[in-house]
Symmetry: C2
Subunit: 444 residues, 2 copies
C-alpha cells in the first residue's frame, strides 16, 4: 500500500524503553509508590504543557534554553515542563485552600529538557518527587528522611548512607565570618568539594568568591569536622554558640538523630556531613543526599531539603515545605551496573506451549485456570515446532513451560518443564497450581 516508506527512528536525545528495561523501571516505580503511600503521601498529576510564563518565572536564562517551547493553535506561548517542582508550586498555590495543610504529595512524571544529549542523559526522563508543604515542623523533615531510607531499602539496597546537613549551620558560620552576603556563591563552591577536593575549593573561595584565606580555611575546617554525628553536633554547638541560626540548625539535627535512633533506623545509614550544601538557592534548612556505598561515583540517588518559599511567585500565602526527589534513572543505571536487574522480557513466568492446533480450547482453558490461581501465564499462539516454542520461552526467560499432546490429554496430564534446570515431569492437571507454586516459590 505504502510504497514510500518512512525510516522508523526516535528523535536525537530520546529513547524507547524495551520490555526488559521497562519491567525493571515499572518495578522501581511500584516500590516508590508503595513507600510514598505508606507515609501518607498522596499522588497528583499536572499537565505536560504549561504557560511558558509559569515555567520560566523562576529558572531564568538557563531554563529558557532548555525549554521545548512553542505557540499552540490558540497562539498561546506554551512549553513542556522541565521539572516537577515548578508545576507543584503552581499547583500548591492554586489548591492550598481547597486541600488544606499540611499537604503531602508525590508526583512521578515525565519531564523534558532540550539539553545536549550525553551518555546516560536524555531529553526526556522521569522525575519522582515527594514533599510535605504547609508546615515548619521538624517531624516533617525527619519523616522525609525516614521515607528516603525506606525507599532505598525497599528498592533492594542495604549498604547506603543518607548524608544530612542543615543550611542554618552554614548560614550561622558565614554569619560569624561576616560572609552572609556571599552565601549563594560560597555554597556553590562547597558543593564541588567531593569532586575537586579541599585545596581547589579554598582557591576558588579566595579567587572567585573573594573571601580571605582565613575565612576560606575556617569554612573548610568547619565542614570537615570529623567524628560521629553526635560528636560533630557537640563541636558545632560550641563553634556556633553566638549564632541563633546556627543553634537552631544544631538543635533540629540533634532531634533528627535522636528520632532515627528511637525509630530503629540503622545508625550507619544516616550521617551528618556539614559539607553538604546542595547548590539550589531555595533550600533553607535540612538537606539530604543519598549515596550507594557500592557505587558512590554515580552521586546522590535521592536528594532534597527544606525550603521556605516554594510558591512566592504565584501567591502571598507562605507555604514552607520539605521534600526530596528519587533519581529513578540514575538508580536503574546503578542497579544494572551492580547486576541487580535480572528481569527477562516477559512479565509471565509460565508458557503454555501448543502442540495441537485442534486443542486450542484446552490450551486457552489451562491458561485461564492458572491465571485464576494467581500465575502470570502466556499461551503461545502459533503452530511452530515445540523446539522453537521452547527457544522463545528461554529467550524471554520464562521459568516454566507446560506441554500437552494427545497422550497427556488422554491421561489428564501436563508435562511440566523447568526451564532453569531442564527437568521435565508429568503432573496431573489438578495438581498443576500446587506444583507450579512450589517451583516459582523456590525462585529467590
Amino acid at each position: 500500500m505504502n510504497q514510500k516508506r518512512i525510516k522508523p527512528q526516535t528523535l536525537k536525545g530520546f529513547r524507547d524503553y524495551l520490555p526488559s528495561v521497562m519491567l525493571a523501571r515499572e518495578s522501581l516505580m511500584d516500590v516508590a509508590r508503595d513507600v510514598f503511600r505508606s507515609f501518607g503521601y498522596a499522588p497528583i498529576d499536572t499537565p505536560a504543557l504549561e504557560y511558558s510564563e509559569i515555567l520560566l518565572g523562576k529558572g531564568g536564562e538557563e531554563s529558557d534554553k532548555q525549554l521545548f517551547r512553542f505557540n499552540d493553535q490558540g497562539n498561546r506561548d506554551v512549553a513542556m515542563r522541565f521539572d516537577l517542582t515548578v508545576p507543584f508550586a503552581r499547583f500548591a498555590s492554586q489548591y492550598a485552600q481547597q486541600l488544606g495543610t499540611p499537604f503531602k504529595r508525590y508526583h512521578i512524571g515525565t519531564v523534558w529538557r532540550a539539553e545536549k544529549p550525553q551518555k546516560g542523559r536524555y531529553r526526556e526522563f522521569v522525575q519522582c518527587d515527594f514533599d510535605t508543604i504547609g508546615t515548619d515542623a521538624n517531624s516533617a523533615d525527619i519523616e522525609t528522611l525516614f521515607a528516603i531510607h525506606d525507599l532505598i531499602e525497599k528498592i533492594g539496597f542495604s549498604d547506603f548512607t543518607i548524608r544530612v546537613n542543615n543550611r542554618l549551620i552554614l548560614n550561622g558560620l558565614l554569619e560569624s565570618l561576616d560572609l552572609q552576603d556571599k552565601t549563594a556563591l560560597v555554597l556553590r563552591s562547597l558543593d564541588k568539594l567531593f569532586k575537586i577536593g579541599r585545596e581547589r575549593v579554598v582557591e576558588e573561595l579566595v579567587r572567585s568568591v573573594g573571601t580571605s584565606e582565613g575565612q576560606a580555611t575556617a569554612i573548610l575546617d568547619l565542614v570537615s569536622v570529623k567524628g560521629s554525628s553526635m560528636e560533630i553536633l557537640e563541636k558545632l554547638d560550641a563553634r556556633l554558640s553566638g549564632s541563633e541560626q546556627g543553634q537552631l540548625g544544631v538543635q533540629r539535627l540533634r532531634e533528627l538523630f535522636e528520632c532515627c535512633k528511637a525509630a530503629g533506623i540503622p545508625h550507619e545509614r544516616v550521617a551528618l556531613d556539614v559539607s553538604i550544601a546542595r547548590g539550589l538557592d531555595y533550600y533553607t534548612g535540612t538537606v539530604y543526599e543519598t549515596f550507594l556505598n557500592d557505587l558512590p561515583s554515580i552521586g546522590s540517588v535521592c536528594s532534597g531539603g527544606r525550603y521556605d518559599d516554594l510558591t512566592g511567585l504565584f501567591t502571598a500565602q507562605p507555604l514552607p515545605g520539605v521534600g526530596a526527589s528519587l533519581g529513578l534513572d540514575r538508580l536503574l543505571a546503578a542497579m544494572e551496573e551492580l547486576g541487580m536487574v535480572t528481569a527477562g522480557e516477559s512479565p509471565a513466568s509460565v508458557l503454555v506451549t501448543v502442540l495441537d492446533q485442534n486443542r486450542i480450547a484446552d490450551y486457552l482453558r489451562i491458561g485461564r485456570t492458572l491465571r485464576t490461581s494467581g500465575f502470570a501465564v502466556e499461551v503461545y499462539t502459533d503452530s511452530r515446532a515445540i523446539k522453537k516454542q521452547l527457544a522463545y520461552a528461554n529467550r524471554k526467560k520464562f521459568r516454566v513451560a507446560i506441554i500437552a499432546g494427545d497422550e497427556e490429554f488422554g491421561a489428564g496430564n501436563w508435562q511440566v518443564k523447568d526451564l532453569l534446570g531442564g527437568e521435565q515431569t508429568a503432573v496431573a492437571e489438578s495438581d498443576l497450581p500446587k506444583v507450579l507454586g512450589e517451583m516459582l516459590a523456590a525462585e529467590v
Copy 2:
C-alpha cells in the same frame, strides 16, 4: 521577594489531577498492569515527541490539525504523540527483528490532541493499549477477548457485555452484494446504527454511499440477525455459504465462542453483534467493543480488533496483530457516576496524632513500627489542637487515629479511635498491629 505575581492556572483543555481522583486512577492503572502482565503482555514506552513525519504518515489532514507540532532547537519538525498506535507501529518496525515474534506489549501513556475542549474531553489524556503482533493465530484474538474480560471484571464490574464481530463477515456480505468497493463507507454508516437507528442508516446508505434500497435492507437485515451467538453463526454460515471470507469469519468466531465456553467465561458477557464494525479502516478481522450494562450510554470502554498491516508505512516486514485499548478516563467517569470511587484524599489509613511536641520521637517511632507491620501510616506534623487533627483525619478519610499523651505513655498504651464509628479504646502498644489489622480488615 517576587512582588510581581503570576496567576497560577492550567492551559485551556488541560487539567490537574488532585489526590482523590489520582488515587482512583492509579488503582485503575495498577489493575490494568496486573491483568496485562498475567497474560504475558510486556510493558514498553516511547517518547512523547516524535518526528512529525512519523506521526502524520497515516492520519492525514484531521490528525494534522490536532497535533501539537513545532520546530525544536535543532530546527527539527517535531510533534507530541496523539495516540499510542502510530508510535507502536514505528517501534515494532524498528525492533521486530531484535524482539522476535510473536510480540505482546502493553503501553500506558499520555497522548495529546489539540481538539476543541468539551465536557469530559481534554487535550491531554492517558491511553492504555495492549497488542499481540506477528501472528495470524485465532488464539491471539481469543486471548485478547479473555484479557478484556479480566480487565473489566478485575476493575470491579460484573454486569458487562463484550460485543464481538469479524470484519470478514461484513466483507463477505458486501462481496455477495457487489459492494466490496464501498466497504469503508458502508462500515462508517453502520457504526452509527446504535446512535441514529436503522431507518436513518438505510437512508444514509442510499443517499450518501449510493447503495440500492435492496442492498441497504440486506445489510441491515444481516447485521440485525437475532438469537444466541451460536444461532446467529448458523444463520450467517448459511447466508455466506458462497463467500470464502465470510466462511472464515464464521469459523473464527465459532472457535472464539467454543473457547470462551471451555475456559469458563460467563456466556452472558460475550455476545456476537454483527452490527459492530469499528469505523477505523485498519481493522481486518475480529473486532471488540465492551459495554457496561448499568451505563451503556457512555459507549464502549474497551475496544479493538485484528489488523493486517500496522507497520506498512515503515517496513516491508508484514506484522499482523490484534489488540485493544482500555478507555481509562471514560471508565473512571463511569465509576464515579456509579458511586464506585470511594477513595479519600490520603493513601494512608492510620493517622498518628501529636499531643506533646516533646515526644516527637515516640510518635515517629510508632509510625515506623506500624509501617514495618504493613500499615500505611501518616504522622501528623504540627502541634495543633487534637480536634483540628481529628478534623484533618476525617476530611482525608483516614480510617483510624491513634492518640497518646502523658497518661498513655506512662501506661504503654495508645488510644485507638475508630473514625467511622467514633469509638475509642485503649490498646497496649504491643497489641496495636493486631487490633489495627482487625479494624482495617473489617473494611470491605
